[in-house]
């Protein structure tokens, strides 16, 4: 925590990558739905 408080760039990196990871998880979910459709075909 102290390291992050002193090196504020890493806080920004965590926040930016969190958004990326969140959207990626949503992409994975969409991909799973699509795969289910394709399997039924």
């Amino acid at each position: 925590m102290e390291f992050l408080a002193d090196n504020s760039m890493y806080v920004t990196l965590i926040i930016a990558s969190l958004i990326l990871v969140g959207l990626l998880l949503y992409l994975v979910r969409i991909d799973a739905r699509l795969r289910k459709l394709e399997r039924e075909r």
């Binding site: 920004t12 969409i30 459709l37 039924e40």
Partner: protein, 403 residues
């Protein structure tokens, strides 16, 4: 100029979200490339444009911190002394002798007349500046160092567009909800629910990123700041929408009930995201700006008692020092909406506009894909049901018209 830039980028992002191809047909290649390149530019500029402060801001920020955490100072090299110190002149024309700077500048291949960003700490005991590391030589652009925020100031390019899209998503969902009630088309229900689902994703992301930022600026992950409270309420409103949808089996009934819910909740969502945080005093910049503040007769500034132990650090150039008892110096609309053109650095205005634009395109891209997928699922569901009941197949084509 600032309003035109940020407002224009926001409007353009939304217009390009619907045009061309709408939400139900694939976006053309140029559109996807525009989304990728602007998003990449946002990340590169947002994280990459170096921060460089002046000596004064470095003193204020390094107060109470060890030498291990030097601050970036943007200065031109005036003189290099043989005793390994150097005279540097910062952007406020303050010339200062910095110890240990000469070898660091030489190692970086820079010399007299170059502009450098050095990691500099202020030794409070001996009252001298000490150079710790080289960061940049002759950067094309620099962002001002904001004491109390430092590199965390960059979060506005990622956290703020997320929060903005929460509102955009609900509004888009409302437009399709209205269409769905009037025309009773399946596509409208699909588009409304897909927009709400994506809005909920951005709501969670805005809350989480905000909580992390809050930990380092306000001391706790969760402070029940008016905006934090508001986003929590909006998250519950989003959650109730999906609970409502999953509770109704009949498709037509579900479409109608959830559309009515979306429209009913538009007022609370707008209230909690836009009005409530400006009515109540809080930690976010722009808090309480609708409230008339009692002015202090001596300073002609709002007489607001400081919040103990919290550095709220409004991202304006003249932010209070980080540390104890730093209250916002004056009540305004915050750096984005403020009418003061100096409240947001011009380079920041450009990156911020770019981030709003690119996040909008990203939002509409994901929305486009998920709408198309939901339509396929719905079509599959209907043909499946038709096959079981023995009814002829093409009903689905009637209900889900490829327009």
């Amino acid at each position: 100029m600032k309003g035109l830039l940020i407002g224009g980028a926001t409007v353009l992002g939304i217009v390009l979200g619907f045009w061309p191809a709408g939400l139900m047909k694939p976006k053309p290649a140029w559109w996807r490339w525009l989304a990728i390149t602007t998003l990449a530019a946002t990340v590169l500029l947002g994280l990459g444009v170096p921060t460089g402060g002046d000596f004064r801001s470095a003193i204020r920020t390094t107060m109470g911190r060890g030498d291990a955490a030097p601050l970036p100072v943007y200065a031109s090299v005036v003189e290099i002394h043989p005793d390994s110190s150097a005279v540097l002149r910062d952007m406020t024309d303050t010339a200062v002798t910095v110890y240990g700077a000469a070898p660091i500048i030489a190692n970086a291949g820079a010399g007299k007349g170059d502009r450098v960003i050095l990691g500099i700490s202020f030794n409070r005991g001996r009252k001298v500046f000490v150079a710790r590391r080289h960061l940049f030589t002759n950067p094309l652009f620099t962002l001002p160092l904001i004491p109390g925020l430092e590199e965390r100031a960059r979060n506005i390019y990622f956290h703020v567009p997320c929060a903005w899209l929460v509102q955009v998503a609900w509004f888009i969902a409302c437009c399709y909800a209205l269409l769905s009630i009037r025309k009773r088309r399946v596509e409208d229900d699909v588009r409304a629910s897909a927009a709400a689902a994506l809005g909920a994703v951005f709501c969670v992301l805005a809350t989480l990123t905000g909580a992390i930022w809050a930990k380092f600026n306000w001391g706790e992950f969760w402070n029940w700041d008016p905006r934090q409270t508001a986003i929590f309420v909006v998250m519950v409103i989003y959650g109730a929408y999906f609970a409502l949808r999953s509770a109704i089996q009949n498709h037509e009934q579900r479409a109608r009930v959830s559309a009515v819910y979306l429209l009913l909740m538009l007022i609370p969502v707008v209230f909690f995201l836009f009005i409530y945080p400006r009515m109540v005093d809080g930690l976010h910049p722009g808090a309480g700006s609708l409230e008339s503040q009692p002015l202090d007769s001596a300073t002609m500034r709002p007489a607001t008692p400081p919040v103990p132990g919290r550095s709220s650090a409004p991202p304006s150039g003249q932010a209070p020092p980080s540390g104890q008892a730093a209250a916002p110096e004056k009540k305004d609309a915050g750096p984005i909406l403020s009418s003061d053109p100096d409240a947001l650095n011009p380079i920041k205005q450009v990156i911020f506009s770019l981030s709003f634009f690119s996040f909008s395109l990203l939002f509409f891209w994901i929305l486009n894909v998920s709408v198309r997928l939901s339509l396929l699922e719905r079509r599959r569901e209907i043909t499946g049901a038709a096959a079981v009941s023995g009814a002829p197949g093409p009903i689905a084509e009637d209900i889900v018209r490829p327009s």
